[in-house]
Amino acid sequence: MGEKKPDRTAVPDAEIVQLVLGGEIDAFDELVRRTRRPAYRLARRITRNHEDADDVVQDSYVKAYRALARFDPNRAFGPWFLTIVARSALSQIRQRARRATVPLDEPGADGTTLAERIPDAAMDTAAMQRLMDAEEALAKLSDEQRAVLALRVDGDLPYGEIASALEIPVGTVMSRLARAREALLEEVEKLRAERFRRSP
């Protein structure tokens, strides 16, 4: 008979970290469970493809595990971990910078295109179109702009955390985020204007 896995869903992050540091490595599972979705989302947003995002997420967990002793127990694990994900993702896209440009609507891991991946049964056509515009506009931003925006939008991180993740001053976060938002808005307006022009 094996041991039953303890339910740690209500255990605070800091206690789980202590468990892991104390040798209960399987407690790390709970940290993964709590953070996997935003981590993947952030990684995917920055890297723009599943394979790289998967690498980034896995690497980030290993890095977090190695750095766990330096984790501040007064902080939540999630934001701390997302900064690791962001750094890893940026590193990943810098490494691939010399590759050919990845097309916006690259096939996903499941072979589907962006248009096929986004639809949601609960979403009406207009909302879906707006979402696709936003995604397409986001994809046109520079890697740095997309990263800072992803950290703010998907990671919901404060400026200080973003600065830490990207290793830039808070003032740079402010200006980069502002440029990213302006560019996003401009791209969306262009897309909508173009569609309006082409519509019968």
Partner: protein
């Protein structure tokens, strides 16, 4: 007043909206925004866009997030063993701690036996569950049964055995595998890789709970279908849809090395006609083809084949026939191919090439490149599936990667 008609910088507007301004500045910007429809509209538009982005689906392949635990566990186990250093005294226990779980020594021994990629004596284990001992024993028993069954099938004993049992290993390995799977299912989670190397499975992956009931024959029947889909299915999709049964896979791989081609096993196991059974008995050796060779002879993904041809590379990396220059030149194209998803069933081979390409630039102490190389090797092993040659090369190369 003039200031009333000057819009704040967008940095300030967004910082205000994000609640990042100091109180004094905040009051100033707030006063402006309250009276300026242009700024309010600007903020609203951006907020609306961001809300839409937040609503967008994760786009993770089905089952990916759920399977992430296992991949992370395997990576963490390796990291833990590396962090332990050469003389890790007691595994998974804090200094001065009293906890010691049964099976630690068994587990260490199993790893030693496996001669897996983790180096001898450098094991800092994840907490080990008691059923690990059972698993070890059953695993060994299954391996013995596989070997015995192979001998029976190929040797003179075959004629003495009823022809109703022409397959090898299936019943015994499957039976044992089932018990292991059950034990694991009850046991829950382990972080280490369990005798994966010894069993012939790819390292770095935990044996999936529940699945090991599959016998070698069933696995053999399923593999060709899986391979058929691999050409179209991208690498992660394959990983995601297959919670790997490493014990089942071990038996499967053992069967690959000594047994007839998969289609023969498949027909035998499915209660084939006596005619085909006779055919199999009469000419088992003539048509015996390990699946690895079958895989090697399959058509390559067009993009992969084109790159190999352009740079004069063999289908699977090997030190003897790949020049550093050709590898360096091919690397960007191999990366593009992989990212585009066009590598298809050759994704593992592409990752192996990428590992070697990065390794050419690697100097000891460069932890970034070290991590990247490791990642490529691990992924090559994970993606290899029935391509045992690629998995073998990746494992060997991973073992020789010095930090």
């Amino acid at each position: 007043m003039k200031n009333d008609f000057q819009h704040p910088q967008s940095e300030e507007l967004f910082a205000f909206r994000d609640g990042e301004l100091l109180p004094e500045k905040r009051a100033i910007i707030e006063a402006h925004v309250m009276g300026c429809s242009v700024c309010r509209s600007f903020i609203d538009q951006v907020s609306s866009l961001e809300a839409e982005l937040r609503q967008s689906p994760d786009r993770a392949p089905t089952g990916y997030l759920e399977s992430l635990h296992e991949k992370v566990r395997a990576r963490i186990a390796v990291a833990a063993s590396e962090a332990a250093g050469e003389e890790a005294p007691v595994v998974g226990v804090p200094e001065g701690g009293e906890r010691r779980r049964g099976g630690v020594r068994l587990r260490e021994r199993r790893r030693d036996d496996a001669g897996a990629r983790r180096e001898r004596g450098r094991v800092k284990e994840a907490p080990v569950l008691p059923w690990a001992a059972v698993l070890s024993t059953v695993s060994a028993a299954a391996a013995v049964l596989v070997v015995v069954a192979i001998l029976i099938k190929q040797g003179p004993y075959q004629r003495m055995i009823t022809p109703k049992v022409p397959t090898v290993a299936s019943p015994s390995a499957g039976g044992e595998g089932k018990r292991e799977g059950d034990a694991r299912g009850e046991g829950g989670v382990t972080l280490g890789t369990v005798s994966d190397k010894a069993a012939g499975g790819a390292p770095g992956k935990k044996v999936a709970a529940g699945a090991p009931g599959k016998d070698a024959g069933v696995a053999a029947r399923e593999k060709p279908a899986e391979e058929t889909t691999r050409g179209a299915a991208p690498p992660m999709a394959k990983l995601d849809q297959a919670p790997e049964d490493r014990l089942g896979k071990a038996a499967d791989q053992a069967a690959q090395k000594a047994e007839p081609a998969p289609e023969q096993l498949g027909s035998v196991n499915q209660g084939e006609s006596s005619e085909s059974r006779e055919r199999l008995q009469q000419e088992p050796q003539a048509s015996a083809a390990p699946r690895s060779f079958a895989r090697m002879s399959q058509a390559l993904a067009p993009g992969y084949a084109a790159i190999l041809s352009r740079f004069g590379l063999p289908p699977i990396w090997n030190a003897a026939s790949v020049s550093p220059e050709a590898l360096a030149n091919a690397e960007p194209e191999l990366r593009s191919l992989y990212v585009s998803g066009a590598a298809g069933s050759d994704s593992a081979r592409v990752r192996l090439y990428l590992a070697e390409a990065v390794r050419q630039r690697y100097a000891p102490g460069d932890s970034t490149l070290y991590d990247e190389i490791q990642r490529h090797y691990h992924r090559a092993i994970d993606l290899a599936g029935t391509d045992v040659e690629t998995a073998r090369v990746a494992e060997e190369r991973l073992r020789t990667l010095g930090k």
